[in-house]
Amino acid sequence: MRIRRLKLLLVKILTHVIAWIIAFAWILPFMGIFMASIRPMEEIIAGWWRFDSFHVTLSNFIEAWHHPSVPMSRGIINSLIVTIPSSIIPLIVGALAAYGFSRFSFPLKEMLFLTIVTFMALPPQAIGIPLFILMNQLGLVDTYVGLVLFHSANGLPWIILFLRNYFETVPKELEDAARVDGASEIQIFLGIILPVIKPALYSILALQFTWVWSDFFYALILIYTPDNLLASQRIPLMKGEYHIPWGTLCAASIIMISVPAILYAFLQKYFIRGIVGGVIKG
């Protein structure tokens, strides 16, 4: 009995050690760029893990924020201008569609649903070229209107899939009672459904915001005036060809991460629910 208990204790300790070693390994790269962002270049080159000479400086952040060719100050503002409407528009449009798919029945409904949902899987490069040509014809290349419209469309497939699954779990009694009382579908949607699905809406906002914020490819092909570049486009441009200014680059990276990281700190469970709900319940 004592040996068995000892064995269990050993297993427990071992599990903890392994788990925390993995966690430590995972956090090291983040620590690396954080240390590089607050230390002068000589100390970064010597290795950020060495502390025989340790100076904290904000100059990397100032350099990244006021970068002569691609300042992050402008990048963050541009990214916010694109990301906020690109999160809210598909949320509204997608919620309406998900409700429609879940509550109405009409011919070819499931085919239409499948067609839309399939687009979740497609690689961006599969539509990038015609998208560029189309935006060019519409005069929307190098405008945020074009990019926002596209991101809104691009977010719809997963939002509709996610919300339709969610709607199936919402009991229909309340709606039916309202319907008997003569409420229109729009009234039911706004008055009864929206309040009930709030947690799902948070998940969508959190993930859609993070994905649009992180987008690089669509920004790369659609936005090219230097002043209009989004934050994600500015980071590779700071790299330079031969000499890499690691301090500035790491500071810019931290600035870029900070927005979704703050969101993640507050809405962590919604992030995870969104990811899991999007793939599992289907």
């Binding site: 599990t15 903890h16 788990a19 925390w20 993995i22 966690a23 995972w26 090291l28 790269p29 983040f30 690396g32 760029i33 590089a36 970064i44 080159i45 290795g47 893990w49 449009v93 309406l96 569609a97 109405f104 499931e110 499948l114 067609t115 839309i116 399939t118 687009f119 899987a121 497609l122 690689p123 961006p124 490069q125 599969a126 539509i127 990038g128 070229i129 998208l131 189309l134 691009n154 719809l156 579908e185 729009i186 992180s214 490819f217 994600s232 980071i235 590779p236 790299k239 890499i244 690691w246 680059l249 790491c250 990276s253 990281a261 962590q268 995870i272 990811i275 899991v276 793939v279 289907g282």
Partner: protein
């Protein structure tokens, strides 16, 4: 049809318009139209005349996509082997490690104090922009600045810039992308584990089943649908990898880390003169592969849809 029926049909049509039309319009213009246009462009040459499957032959059998000479020399001849091969190598390295690690973590963390903190750390990889991940990995594997070299030093391996050499760059990127994606498999497996009824384990314990047997005879079989989801979603992610490579190596050195998505971008937006024929036919091939994989992921959705349709 009675008057009431007409009214009801009219309301239904009106409702469908209000609720579904905005989505249908957006998706049609910005997703459906472009994908068909990509397919159309892959069957015509630069002058606009139809060429059948000629573009597909041209785009596949070029050294940027399939470098047969170098592939034959594998493994003594280093990358580049061509973008298509690089994607396959990426999947071969990244998929088993990230899936297995996610599963192990999901199982281990059920009995660890501070599990939520560890989960939050590992899931961070999924939150940060891939452009930044590319910078972080480049920094971490660089000769002077990379802490990886410190740990490899303990094993007697000389420090080097792992992304600067064709012999190591591709394998380093594929391996390090485990750091980005393991958060996904971990949370999905965690949710899958929670769905397994506790009674099953209790019953097994009464029968005297050990923890390892429980894992292999209860946990693993019941996680099969979750594993299918994780594997397909992971392959989809590996097939469209772009930002991460762009910001870390730009496909270099000498094309050693080039991948399909990057090649499509270069063909159209970078090469002078632009080559829509090569780019779009390659994009169509990538789409075809993706759809084949996605069918597995979407199988439950398709099943539900078919069942609803039948009823």
């Amino acid at each position: 049809m009675s008057k009431g029926d007409v009214m009801r049909t009219r309301t239904l049509i009106l409702n469908i318009l209000i609720f579904l039309l905005p989505s249908i319009i957006l998706v049609s213009i910005f997703l459906i139209y472009p994908i068909f246009y990509t397919i159309y462009l892959s069957f015509i040459d630069i002058d606009g005349s139809p060429v059948g499957f000629e573009n597909f032959r041209k785009t596949l059998f070029r050294s940027d996509v399939l470098d047969f000479k170098r592939i034959r020399g594998f493994p003594s001849v280093s990358p580049p082997y061509g973008a298509l091969v690089h994607n396959v190598i990426w999947i071969a390295i990244h998929l088993p490690i990230t899936t297995f690690l996610g599963l192990i973590l999901a199982v281990l963390l059920r009995n660890v104090k501070g599990a939520s903190i560890i989960k939050a750390i590992i899931f961070m990889g999924m939150i940060i922009p891939l452009v930044v991940s590319g910078i972080i990995i480049h920094f971490t594997f660089e000769k002077d600045t990379g802490i990886v070299n410190v740990f490899l030093g303990f094993l007697g391996i000389e420090p080097k810039s792992w992304l600067m050499y064709p012999e190591t760059a591709l394998y380093t990127l594929a391996l390090s992308s485990v750091w980005i994606w393991t958060g996904f498999s971990m949370v999905v497996y965690s949710a899958g584990l929670e769905a397994i009824p506790k009674e099953l384990y209790e019953a097994a314990e009464i029968d005297g089943t050990g923890p390892i047997q429980k894992f292999f005879y209860i946990t693993l079989p019941l996680l099969k649908p979750v594993t299918i989801t994780v594997v397909t979603m992971t392959i989809l992610w590996e097939l469209k990898i772009f930002d991460f490579v762009f910001s870390s190596t730009r496909g270099g050195p000498g094309g050693a880390t080039n991948v399909l998505a990057l090649q499509i971008y270069f063909d159209y937006f970078f090469t002078i003169p632009s080559r829509p024929d090569l780019a779009c036919s390659l994009a169509s091939i990538l789409t075809l592969i993706t759809l084949a994989v996605a069918c597995i992921a979407l199988k439950p959705v398709i099943k539900i849809a078919v069942r609803r349709y039948a009823v």
